[in-house]
Each structure stands twice: as C-alpha cells, then as structure tokens.
C-alpha cells in the first residue's frame, strides 16, 4: 500500500490566519487470496411497500439471489422485508447451499403491499447481523427502498444517529434508493453515519448491478475502520472537506474513513488553518493512518510549512493536483447545495451557489486546463439549476456530486488506483 500527503502551498502568512489544503492519498493493498478472506455477515433489507410492485421487487429478489451465490459456507446472511409490518423472512444463518436454497424459496413468496416502516425494517436487519458478528469480516445491513419512511422512526437525524451508534458497535449500513420517491438526504446520511455507501438507482433494471457490486465490495475489503490522524501544534485547526466524520482530541484530529477495498485509491482533502507566526519560523503536522486490524503499514508523513512575508506567499508555487482536488470538492458541495435550493424553488439561489464557486475557482485556475474545465461545467450547470428540474435529474445530480466529494466513480463505485481519475 502507499500513503502520501501534500500541501497546495509551502509558505504561510505571518500576520493573518492562512488556510492551506492537504491532499492525502491512500492506495489500499491488493486482495487477500479469495479463500483467505474473513467471513462476512450481511442482512438484506427490502422494502415491499405497494410502490415496489412489479419490476422493482422482482429485480430486488434477483439481486439477493445473485449476491447469495457469491457467499461462502462460512459467511452468514439474513433477509428482512418490510412495509408497515416487519417480516424476518430468513433469520441469520450460515450461507450453506441448503440455507441459500430455502431462503430464496421463501423470498419468492414475497410480494409488494402496504406502507413504509423503513426505520424498523432496517433495525431488524441490523438485529439479525448483531446476533452473531463476524470478528474479522464485515458486518453490514443493505437497505433497499423506493419510498419515504412514513411509519415508525421517520426522523433523519435520529436514524442517522442510530446508524452511527451501530457502526461504532460493528454493524455498518449501506442504502439503495430506487426511482424518484425516496429521500436521498436520509439515505446518504444513514450510509455516511453508518460507514457504508449510498447508491441511487434511477432505473429498476440496474438494481442487480448495484447490489451485487456493493456485495462484491464488502467481500473485497482489506482494511476495516480506517482513520486518518493529524497531529500538529495546538494552534492549527484541521477540518476535513471530504465528507467524513471528524473528531478532535486535544492536538490530534481523527478523520474516520471507513473500510477500504482491495487496491482502492482514496483521496481525502483537509483544510488546515494556521495561527500567526514570525517570518522564517517553521511549523508542521504529522499525518498517519491506522485501522482496526493493523493491516495498513504506510509510514506517517510529515508536512512542513514556513511563515513568510506576503510577497513570498503571493509568488509561491502551487501544487496543482491539490488545487484540482480542492476545486472538485468545493464544486461537489456547491452542487449539493444547489440541488437542495432547486428542489425548494429557490432557483436564483441554486444558480448563485454554483456560479460563486465557479468564480472562486476561476480566480486561481490560471491556465490549468482541468481547473478551467471544472469552472466551465459549473457555469453550464448554473444555468440548468436556474430553472425547475425533474426530480430524476436532481437525484442523478445529487448522487454524482456525492460520489465526487467522496472520490468515488460517478456511479458510486470505489476508485481503484494508482492514478485512476486524477490525471
């Protein structure tokens, strides 16, 4: 594996508080041999409310069938379906051929009906996984829905808080939203807090692809519970612009990155805010990785900065790769804001959210072709956002920008290194 960290600029201002950006890049190690992977424990939680009738429920069942085919005898799985009633179709069981066959037979009898108790359906899935946690493997609940939580716990923050609570106790959550009637902010928040992923599935035909790809990722995980730690002098404030939970403990900031799959390339953008300092003085911060099982062995990286006068600051060289990563993150954040404004009818605000970020990037883009392309895209989108958009387009745009902020591919898959998508 490799771990690098670099800053956009070396010099910092002496009598103002400077912001400098750090791009940390992690290339996860390759997969262990297939037989050697630790057993996983997965719960499939499927919305069976009336709106799922037809293709959606049929394809969701197929997705479960294909996912089960990828499990080994030592893995475990459970299946839960819900409308306003929660039905544990198949309680947690070892994935023997017999168990898989009878699970599919029972799943075959399920049809769509009723309303949506998303919260309890999901929690029942987590309960099945929690019954027997795989000590070394991944324990995850996969929630597939096409609707809004309208029975039981429906509050976004409460559901996200429970997802975080379960993640801290070893059960992660991945969410799939199908069609245009679900709440992507809820599903994204549950996945972020729950240490899994959120997928938007515009067309039911793609349900199988997304579910099996996510199951494939959980089987490929090579490092669990990865955190990036930044240690520096007390005055430096560290913030992660990449959307990962961050906590500060005294002089140490811990960014929780989650699980890494084999050969995954993960980029994390941090903003460091420096205190004042005398010209010529040097300061620094140490960036290090750790994970639950101590499998990542990258050496910590120390970055140094130097206080300098304004002229030196203004003329200094910039690391364009860092600039580009920063610009992409700000563009992604602006898109998410613009989509929210567009949905609430604030079209001018949506346009402005994009064009103001475009302006700021243009200020430092210079002749850099990639940065100028980001600006051009934002300008184009700001016009689209200035008018009412179809819900489907909004969801698509939300998903694409959420993936961009997380350095995943446009359709939500882990980016594999080295150098994928960054040059």
């Amino acid at each position: 594996m490799t771990f690098t960290a670099r800053s956009d600029r070396h010099y910092i201002r002496s009598i103002y508080r400077s912001n400098r950006f750090v791009l940390a890049e992690i290339d996860a190690p390759p997969a262990r041999r297939e037989r050697a992977r630790p057993p996983v424990h997965l719960a499939f939680v499927i919305d069976r409310s009336g709106s799922m009738a037809g293709d959606k429920i049929r394809l969701a069942k197929l997705a479960v069938e294909e996912s089960l085919a990828r499990l080994h005898d030592d893995d475990r799985f459970a299946i839960v379906v819900y409308d306003e009633v929660i039905d544990v179709v198949f309680p947690s069981t070892r994935a023997t051929p017999d168990a898989r066959r009878s699970a599919l037979a029972r799943l075959g009898e399920i049809d769509a009906r009723g309303s949506t108790n998303l919260g309890e359906g999901w929690l029942r899935g987590c309960e099945q996984v929690a019954l027997e946690l795989s000590a070394e493997g991944v324990n995850r609940t996969l929630l597939l829905t096409d609707g809004l939580a309208n029975v039981g716990i429906t509050d976004r923050d409460e559901l996200a808080r429970h997802a975080a609570g379960l993640r801290a106790r070893g059960v992660s959550t991945t969410t799939f939203g199908v069609g245009e009637d679900f709440d992507e902010v809820l599903l994204q928040a549950m996945a972020d807090a729950g240490g899994g992923h959120f997928y938007y599935i515009a067309n039911a035909a793609a349900i199988r692809d997304y579910v099996t790809s996510e199951v494939g990722e959980t089987l490929e995980i090579v490092a669990r519970g990865v955190t990036l730690q930044v240690t520096g002098p007390d005055g430096i404030e560290v913030e992660s612009l990449s959307p990962y939970p961050t906590q500060a403990f005294g002089g140490r900031t811990v960014v929780t990155l989650g699980d890494l799959v084999a050969e995954q390339r993960l980029q994390v953008v941090l903003r460091l805010n420096f205190p004042y300092g005398e010209i010529g003085r040097e300061t620094g911060a140490l960036f290090s990785l750790s994970d639950r099982d101590d499998v990542l062995d990258g050496a910590p990286v120390k970055l140094g900065w130097e206080y300098a006068d304004d002229r030196t600051n203004d003329l200094q060289a910039r690391d364009r790769d860092v600039d580009r990563a920063v610009a992409r993150i700000f563009a992604a954040r602006a898109r998410q804001e613009a989509i929210g404004r567009n949905r609430s009818g604030d079209y001018q605000g949506a346009k402005e959210a994009l064009s103001s970020v475009a302006r700021r990037i243009r200020d430092y883009a210079g002749r850099d072709a990639q940065l100028r392309e980001i600006v051009a895209e934002l300008d184009l989108e700001s016009d689209q956002m200035a008018a009412p958009m179809a819900e489907l387009s909004r969801k698509q745009a939300f998903f694409a920008s959420a993936n961009m902020a997380r350095m995943r591919t446009y359709d939500g898959k882990a980016t594999k290194g080295p150098q994928t998508g960054s040059r």
């Binding site: 987590c126 309960e127 972020d192 002098p233 403990f249 005294g250 002089g251 200020d363």
Partner: protein, 224 residues
C-alpha cells in the same frame, strides 16, 4: 496502534511548535527525558512529543517550570498521552445487539436513555482530568458521532442588498472636489462586498490592494 513514531529534533520542534533550543533546554532541565543519543542522530518518540505538548499547555496557563516538573514527574507516559491527545474513542460499552434492541423497544424502555446519554469521552481522560486540573483536555468528542447529513454547510442567506447607485459621498471629502469620482464595488465573497470611491492616491491604492488581499485571505474558502 501502529508502531511508535520517531522524530528528529527539528520534526519534534515543528510538531510541538517550539524551537530546537527550547527542547534542548527542557532536556537539560529534566522536563523531558534525554533522547538517548546526542547530536544529529538523536531521535525522539511519541512520548517526548506528548510530554512536550503538555509542558506547553501548562506553560500557557502560567505554571512555573519547577511546578510543571513536579507535576510531570508523577505521571507516566500513558497518562500523559491520554491527557494530551486521547486516542480514538474507546469502544462503546454496549453491544450492537443491545443497542438495536433498546431502540426497537421504543421510548420508555429502560435501556434507551443509557444509549442516548452515552459518552464517547475516553475513560482515561475522564479520570485523569482530576489529578491534573490544569491540563485541559480541550475539544473532546460530542456524545454521539455527528453526521454529515448534507455535505455543505448552509450558506449565509441574509444579505444586505446595496442600492444600485451607492450613496453620494458625504461632506467630509479631503480629495479635491473638482475630480470626478466613481464608486467601485468589489465582491470579496458572494456575500461580502467592499465599496471604494476612486480615484485614490497611489499610496491608497496600494493599501486597498493589500486590504483586499487580506480580506480575501480571511474570508477565503478556496485557495486564492
């Protein structure tokens, strides 16, 4: 935790925000253990870093060095590390199963308040804040990990619209009145603007340019 980090004198100085000379002084004063080896080959450990940061923190609270030395001599490396930068949160004391079941039990179930009120504060620092009341373990964790429901923070919405034509300059005008003046509006961010009546003297122009650079630096979100 991964293997212990090792630092050169300069690295240690950068990370703790002190000069190499100060570090040598602390070693000579017995506040820091000796690195074992002297000269350029000397290397320091996380224990040194933690101790050094605690010293700096206590100094900021105006504790005399002699007092700091007495306090430090009572503490072992682990205690100091816990005081200075507590590690990632200790594992929660309830299992995932207990957690789900208490939530599913619904409000009023005995287990539920325990989870809501649960704290991620590492037990070590909770206990250690007592013997060394001066050492503030600042910015400890929120009770529950916060979630990033929406990636971007809400932007400031309230915005004072300037009149299309800025107000005419008031009576106190040191500039010769004969000169035609004009207001320039400079957007510092999407929400903050600066109004300047031009022309300005060369000197003033330079200062305004500096002002804009400083303001942008202060307000910037992107690199400028």
């Amino acid at each position: 935790m991964p293997t212990e980090n090792q630092y050169s004198l300069q690295d240690l100085a950068d990370l703790a925000d002190v000069s190499p000379r100060t570090i040598r002084y602390y070693v000579a004063q017995g506040l820091l253990p000796s690195p074992g080896q002297v000269g350029p080959g000397a290397h320091y450990t996380d224990g040194h870093l933690a101790r050094l940061r605690l010293i700096r923190r206590l100094q900021r609270e105006h504790l005399p060095l002699a007092e700091i030395r007495t306090q430090l001599s009572k503490l072992d490396d682990e205690t100091i590390a816990a005081l200075v930068d507590a590690e990632a949160p200790a594992p929660p004391d309830s299992s995932a199963l207990d957690y789900v079941r208490s939530v599913l039990g619904g409000p009023g179930v005995a287990g539920r308040p325990a989870i809501r009120g649960e704290s991620l504060v590492p037990p070590a620092s909770r206990a250690l804040a007592m013997p060394l009341a001066h050492a503030q373990v600042s910015r400890l964790a929120e009770p529950e990990p916060t979630t990033t429901a929406e990636a971007s923070p809400p932007y400031v919405v309230g915005r004072i619209e300037l009149p299309a034509e800025p107000p005419p300059p008031t009576s106190t005008t040191p500039e010769p009145a004969a000169q035609r003046s004009q207001w320039d509006r400079i957007a510092l961010t999407s929400d903050i603007e600066l109004n300047i009546r031009r022309p300005l003297s060369r000197q003033q122009n330079k200062r305004v340019e500096r002002l804009i650079a400083i303001a942008r630096e202060l307000l910037e979100e992107d690199p400028s």
